[in-house]
Point group: C2
Chain length 103, copies 2
Amino acid sequence: MSKFTNATITKEANIYYDGSVTSRSVELEDGSQISLGVMLPGEYTFNTNKAEIMEILSGNLEVKLPDEEWKTLSTPESFNVAANSSFDVRVKTVTDYCCRYID
Amino acid sequence: MSKFTNATITKEANIYYDGSVTSRSVELEDGSQISLGVMLPGEYTFNTNKAEIMEILSGNLEVKLPDEEWKTLSTPESFNVAANSSFDVRVKTVTDYCCRYID
């Protein structure tokens, strides 16, 4: 188990897709923003404002990035998403993730 | 939205009931422990080691504490659970909670 110290965490959850995707917003010591979340099995599309690094901690899923084919991730694995774009996921098993927002 | 500052958060999620209940473990600045979690609709039983204060941030549910009848909570509302006991919940809508562990 790894930990983030000296972090600021928002108490209330972010709830998407009727609870199938939920996360907590965290500001790290260096001021960068992350969200720690869980996705239940299902298909989801996420839009990005800032660029993101999606770090998959556990779980089986496929991801489709813009202009790319679907690919199966071998967890733990990360993928990058450009700002102002979107990505699709097909979540096969409960997936734990850490999303880093890149300024 | 309220925030916990100078906190230590464990990166990996706690996952229960096949993902229907998930949480993140947080140590607060004063050394006390909490978990910030989400429960999807369903019926769950939780065992306690330490005494707990369960603060329901949002969502509709009923709770049954030991030797008590089922009662509907009017969120936001908190309830206390003794150490080394358990409680049952019937979650009606996605429920966001903060569980404080009492030494």
